[in-house]
């Protein structure tokens, strides 16, 4: 069950533009978000929720449930990520549209065409990880991934490191010809 109410945003305390209540396995979960925090958490267009709920109720329930469960942890994680990014001298927010690097990492999306320039370094890194997926020889690919993993650990980029680690595990699990 999902219904709309007006409350205070659970993240920033401002007046919430949307409040969602759902009952999962008999437990009530509530989430109130203002428009900017809703965007930050991947609910891009709160005004469409009533309609989206009619079309994709399961998707919305799953998304809200995930946000409710992860809210506290995510806030802590984001603060840590931002601090690390600042240390690494990366721009963490697009000055044109205010889209943040952490939102890009969560959703894979960008806020505006200028984000391509602002987050160019991050995008180049992602493109590097993706292109390594298409390396022909598994042995070459493993060596390259291990090198990138080492670099990611050195710069304390644990998110990229986790992706690289999983890819190396996949390669190790693949039977050799």
């Amino acid at each position: 069950m999902l219904r709309l109410q007006v409350k205070k945003c659970h993240i920033c305390g401002k007046r919430a533009s949307i409040s969602l209540t759902q009952i999962i396995n008999g437990q009530i979960s509530e989430l109130a978000l203002c428009e900017s925090c809703a965007k930050e958490k991947g609910i891009f267009d709160p005004q469409t929720l009533t309609f989206a709920e009619k079309f994709f109720p399961e998707d919305i329930k799953a998304k809200v449930d995930k946000i409710v469960r992860e809210l506290a942890g995510m806030q802590q994680g984001e603060a840590t990520d931002s601090a690390k990014d600042e240390q690494r001298d990366l721009l963490v927010r697009c000055p044109v549209c205010q889209f943040s690097l952490s939102t890009h990492r969560k959703t894979g999306r960008l806020g505006c065409p200028s984000c391509y320039t602002v987050f160019a370094r991050e995008l180049a890194q992602e493109a590097g990880v993706m292109s390594s997926d298409t390396t022909d020889s598994p042995a070459d690919e493993r060596t390259e991934l291990e090198r990138e993993l080492q670099q990611a650990i050195e710069r304390e980029d644990y998110e990229t490191a986790a992706v690289l680690r999983d890819r190396i595990r996949q390669l190790n699990d693949t039977p050799h010809p």
Binding site: K39, F44, D45, Q47, T48, F51, A52, K54, F55, F56, V96, C97, F99, G108, R109, L110, G111, C112, P113, Y116, L123, E126, M130
Partner: protein, 363 residues
């Protein structure tokens, strides 16, 4: 053109007619995406941003050839039922159906294209053709792109191409989708193999109406991912080749099923025909699955029409399918208790007007 005029006008050829050869490739859609420079992408923009984008894009779209008397609406002006009808006619994407202020849809009177402003990207154009007429789609889209590129300031980088809200989709800004009817591959439990094989070829396939338990109606969407800059011709060639191979494979499996001494194909078709011919209540899932088997039965000549030419019959089945989709779109199952009965009445009337008999070897 008003919404009522759009719905009451003769449906476009791609929506009603079948492909020349058979009923396997039902409809192909080319999706062209562009974003304006200097504005947030629609998923990150405010209603004010979206309005400004619409103010720039709509006048240019209205000047395009064939747009006189086009249907144009802001999504917030369309009711829930109107959006469901457009979705069932494949003239609106699910993403666009959930949009509100500042998001517009334009459909020219010929209904050969759909223009969506502020969908996932600022401008999304869908060009539709029956069957697998990819070349026609690419011609139509390249003409539209050439006209628009000269009139609007689109966001581009020389090395990246057209910029999109998902960086992995930046590039040529073009995708191809084909709706395929693959009942033989489904019956033969071969779809998971096909999916894995296609993944290796960088082409994707997914069920069209999957409800989580079964592939409803054996309908699938084959699609390309957006390609990097200057890759359209190469990707389209690759896609067309794969599409032809998939159609050939479906035909081969149909032939193999026909030769099965256990008559499993004929049994499935007969059960589906019996359901559609005599049922008094039909769920949407049941109807789609039975219609899929009926199509397979007529395409393989297990069933033969008594008073219809096979091509007209295939078109009539597509029309029946559309009517079922539109009827179901008008209301939700749980809100409209009469829907299963209405569906059964529709299919019974259709089969009464167009009777079928089993071919002698299957009777």
């Amino acid at each position: 053109m008003t919404f009522e005029q759009l719905i009451q006008a003769t449906p476009p050829e791609w929506l009603l007619k079948s492909s020349d050869a058979d009923d396997i490739a039902i409809v192909t859609v080319g999706r062209l995406v562009r974003n304006l420079d200097g504005f947030p992408f629609p998923g990150w923009s405010t209603a004010d941003d979206r309005k400004k984008v619409s103010e720039q894009v709509l006048p240019v779209l209205r000047q395009l050839r064939g747009m006189k008397n086009a249907f144009c609406a802001e999504l917030s002006d369309l009711s829930y039922e109107q959006r469901r009808l457009l979705l069932a006619r494949k003239q609106l994407t699910p993403c666009m159906a959930a949009r509100q202020d500042g998001c517009h849809i334009l459909i020219p009177p010929r209904q050969n294209a759909i223009y969506m402003v502020n969908e996932e990207e600022h401008l999304v154009v869908h060009c539709c053709q029956r069957g697998n007429r990819i070349r026609d789609i690419l011609n139509d889209l390249s003409k539209i792109a050439a006209t628009l590129d000269g009139k609007l300031n689109f966001a581009r980088l020389p090395e990246t191409g057209n910029l999109t809200s998902l960086p992995s989709e930046a590039g040529d800004g073009l995708q191809l989708y084909t709706m395929l009817h693959l009942p033989a591959l489904t019956l033969g439990n071969m779809m998971s193999q096909v999916t894995k094989a296609l993944e290796k070829l960088h082409i994707n396939i997914s069920p069209c109406y999957s409800d989580g338990e079964d592939d409803t109606g054996s309908l699938f969407i084959l699609y390309t991912l957006p390609g990097p800059i200057d890759s359209t011709a190469e990707i389209a060639g690759h896609y067309q080749k794969i599409l032809r191979q998939l159609i050939t494979r479906e035909r081969q499996v149909r032939q193999r099923l026909l030769e099965d001494p256990e008559l499993r194909l004929a049994d499935n078709v007969a059960r589906a025909y019996g359901t559609l011919r005599h049922a008094r209540r039909l769920t949407l899932r049941e109807t789609r699955n039975a219609l899929s088997m009926l199509r397979l039965g007529t395409a393989t000549q297990v069933l033969e029409w008594e008073n219809l030419d096979p091509t007209d019959a295939t078109d009539s089945l597509k029309e029946l399918d559309l009517i079922i989709a539109l009827t179901s779109a008008a209301a939700r199952e749980e809100e409209e208790p009469g829907l299963p009965t209405a569906r059964a009445t529709l299919t019974r009337s259709f089969l009464k007007a167009h009777p079928l008999h089993f071919a002698p070897e299957f009777s």
